[in-house]
Symmetry: C2
Subunit: 523 residues, 2 copies
């Protein structure tokens, strides 16, 4: 591996470099990676803009084959990719092997979605030449790609939310060229996956500007990318601070553009009385399992658990405490994330509004996160807004409420979230029902009797939610609906067939499903 | 008419007042209208938030009947509504009668759209309990209303883009309560239509907070509305300055919210050689007709016309000049719009980069707009960005280009637009084809051999486009797709039927079309 970044098809070296870092050994990893300059970013954006019309004009099937080629190329990277990602992230082999499958699987799912064709939103109003007082023309709508997209790799999914992750897959599916700013925590993994995409661009005969990769450790590089006038949308998964900074940059451009930032969530879990009575101990163990999985480094980590005070909740807490004490320390993704986690946990330990129930086992090694479990009551939680801030990592707070009314008040007081989880038995349904509309207003996904940390990649999933869970609650960053973030409608009125794009020609050469005068015609 | 505003069902009076103004007579119109206070706005938003869950939980058919009731109530206002709107806007009777029909027709179209049910986006991934390594749960997605919406009435469509216009109709259809800030140019028309909505709220047994109207002449009132934390989206049609101010306010809230602002467009018309040769004179007359209709006060007014220099274009220009000189002056909507128009035209008259071809006939009366026609060439147009600024009213610039390449350069240099119009004959198709992808990037609607000033209200229409035509190119403010601006997806994972909203229950009690594992099932 040569440590270059990619401007279109070209691997570019610069004098200034940075390195990957192995958090489990506490040491830098070779090779040194070139840091892209502002001029490199501009050149990547120029190539993207140049490629845009040709790329978006490809048939859906062509783009589907392109996505499948990327998927094949990623799969072909085999163990070498997993090994590099392990080294750069401290994540275990099984998790990264699974994540590699999720990444290529997600590309293939978008290929299937492209071939189905509904995403194109083809809609006709047929002419009404004899209508009085005015005739109606021939109106045809379809959705087209929004333009070149900037994607920021996320640290916590070095494959599935990084270079070829959900943002890139959905933007490419839409027909948008992508310029990726690699996450500096995994530059080698980044480069390997970037090569897989570049090779697919070449193999599919697409213009090189369809994909570029810029690398570097400084936020300024991302700012240059987001403010380039040729970029028309941004995909980001990361911290609230990072997301807010990008939203501000994008909003202050001469031409403001949409930012899809997935930022911050504490994912409330509500323990309903019957479920708590019937299976409190099993719930406690599963809770700690969900909390500590992957060192807790999930956007959907259960950061608060709410139950009604009483002996059942006490038993849940006792079991969770015991389980958490046995949780082994795990390597966290980066020194920065580890330091932020330790600070967050220390702040909770020092906060008189909460009691520390347990810390996970200590260990010897680098960058180790020790799980942490706290407890408070609803009055104190409501009185101290800092308790509702996300501590990224395996830290969670149990909240004792007086009754269901107070649980409702707790939920009403929360900011927007990615998920809410109900632990319920049949006897709880009546109690739970009034909470559902409230939760709908607060979250993107409501789940029952599971844990929020598994996010299915599918057509019905929503990985999104009201601010600050995301910057834009009208979308999802996981699943096929993510493509809609990068499309915009265009209407063609009375255009002759010769001038219409294939998607809206009368003969329907792309075999797209069409809604004609309100009725869906499946090709 | 008592001059009160409406906080829910309640008509409220305040000491401070403002008045409507008859631009054709240059005098104030009784009665005086109470100016809402910041506290009134807060109370309207509180009622809207309180009504939200109940309103969005209504069945689509219930909301459809509500929209139809509003439409019936507006129709029942009969000539009194048209008379008041004429007085307050200076627009002629035929236009306002048509606009009244458009307004009630648009409400009825949304009722039809609600009953079709696709807008709900119901999508199921059925469970895969035996999938390895992990089973898939039961995932169901639907789209819900985003929350209470602030709508700003527009001056130039006192009915169709005002209190019960496209923004209000689409927001109510989505299940969002609406707080309207009435346009101060037509407070009486505003109040009449607001009563029609309030009466429909009561007749349909809906909570009063579903609709409120605040009134007042100052921008500060709108700022209070947009920054109220209970407001979750904004609909606006008006000036670029106004739209940008709302975008800034909305983006700087603790919880940023989407703003749908339809702002500024000069709607290029391209005259292709064969069409120009075959029917240049007819085109010139139709152009002046489109330009001067309604005193040119349309978002889709043809602000620039581009053709290749030569005798055919000269003939077009000569005919257009003659036609425009005969254009009678027309009363403009407000003193402010009239002054801005006069300033814009004066700036063009004084600009050495353009020549004045013609001014419309002079007249005696108040607030009269005299049409204006200018000519320049492409080099000068490209060199002076001020020539691409919208002059709201019947002002237009003809641009002489050297060839098609320069026409493409002109289009490439334009900001985002609502529309682009091609005047083409069959012999022009080959010449026109390369421009279509370029126009797709620049505009929301491309039309051939018509004029942009008629905007159909239908399912395939797009009244939108890249910035600064609108603040958000992913949407339209006219037609049924406008509902999507006010919806967001929610996913339900493994929720028992007893806890699911009706839209995603297994038995499909609302008879909604559903996409199940990728296949559409129409109920």
């Amino acid at each position: 591996m040569d440590g270059h970044f990619l401007i279109g098809a070209r691997a570019v070296a610069r004098d200034a470099t940075f390195s990957g870092y192995d958090p489990s050994r506490g040491e830098q990893i070779a090779p040194a990676f070139s840091i892209s300059t502002a001029e490199d970013v501009a050149e990547a954006c120029r190539l993207a803009a140049e490629a845009f019309d040709a790329f978006r004009d490809t048939d859906p099937d062509q783009r589907a084959r392109f996505l499948e080629t990327i998927a094949d190329n990623i799969d072909a990277l085999g163990d070498a990719l997993v090994a590099r990602a392990m080294q750069e992230s401290g994540l275990p082999q099984a998790r990264l092997t699974g994540e590699r499958g999720r990444t290529s699987g997600q590309l293939r799912l978008f290929a299937t979605h492209l071939r189905r064709g509904d995403w194109a939103g083809v809609t006709f109003d047929t002419p009404l030449p004899d209508r009085a007082p005015l005739p109606r023309g021939d109106l045809r709508q379809r959705r087209i790609a929004i333009g070149p997209v900037a994607v920021f790799g996320a640290s916590n999914f070095p494959l599935a939310f990084s270079v070829a992750g959900g943002d890139t897959a959905s933007a490419l599916a839409a027909g948008c060229p992508v310029v990726v700013k690699g996450h500096p925590a995994h530059p080698g993994t980044t480069r390997m996956v970037a090569d897989a995409i570049r090779d697919a661009v070449a193999a599919c005969g697409l213009p090189e500007g369809v994909f570029s990769l810029v690398q570097g450790p400084a936020n300024e590089l991302g700012a240059v990318l987001v403010t380039d006038p040729r970029i028309k949308a941004v995909g980001f998964t990361g911290s609230r601070g990072g997301g807010l900074a990008l939203m501000k940059l994008a909003g202050e451009r001469p031409e403001p553009i949409p930012v899809y930032a997935e930022m911050s969530s504490i994912n409330p879990v509500i323990l309903f009385p019957q479920a708590l009575a019937a299976r409190g101990e099993a719930l406690a163990k599963a809770y700690v399992g969900s909390l500590t999985m992957g060192a807790g480094q999930f956007c959907t980590n259960p950061g608060i658990v709410i139950g009604i005070a009483g002996p059942d909740l006490d038993r849940f807490v006792a079991t969770a405490t015991q389980a958490l004490e046995q949780a082994q320390p795990q390597v966290m993704l980066t020194k920065g994330i580890h330091a932020a986690y330790d600070n967050g946990v220390s702040a909770l330990e020092a906060n008189p509004s909460v009691e520390t129930l347990a810390r996970g086992a200590e260990g010897t090694g680098c960058t180790l996160g020790r799980a942490a479990l706290f407890i408070t009551d609803a009055d104190r939680f409501l009185a101290d807004p800092s308790l509702a801030h996300e501590v990224f990592g395996a830290s969670s707070v149990v909240i004792r409420a007086k009754d269901m009314a107070q649980i409702a008040a707790l939920i009403e007081g929360l900011e927007g979230q990615l998920t809410a989880t109900l632990q319920i038995d049949e006897g709880d349904y009546e109690t739970a029902a009034p909470l559902v509309p409230l939760l709908e207003r607060k979250v993107g996904r409501i789940l029952a009797n599971g844990w929020p940390t598994g996010v299915e990649v599918s057509t019905a999933i929503v990985h999104g939610g009201p601010f600050p869970a995301t910057s834009d609650p009208r979308s999802t960053s996981v699943g096929t609906a993510a493509i809609e973030r990068f499309l915009r409608p265009v209407c063609y009125q009375d255009l002759p067939d010769a001038l219409l794009p294939k998607a809206v020609r009368s003969a329907n050469p792309l075999n797209l499903p069409r809604r004609i005068d309100g009725t869906l015609e499946v090709a």
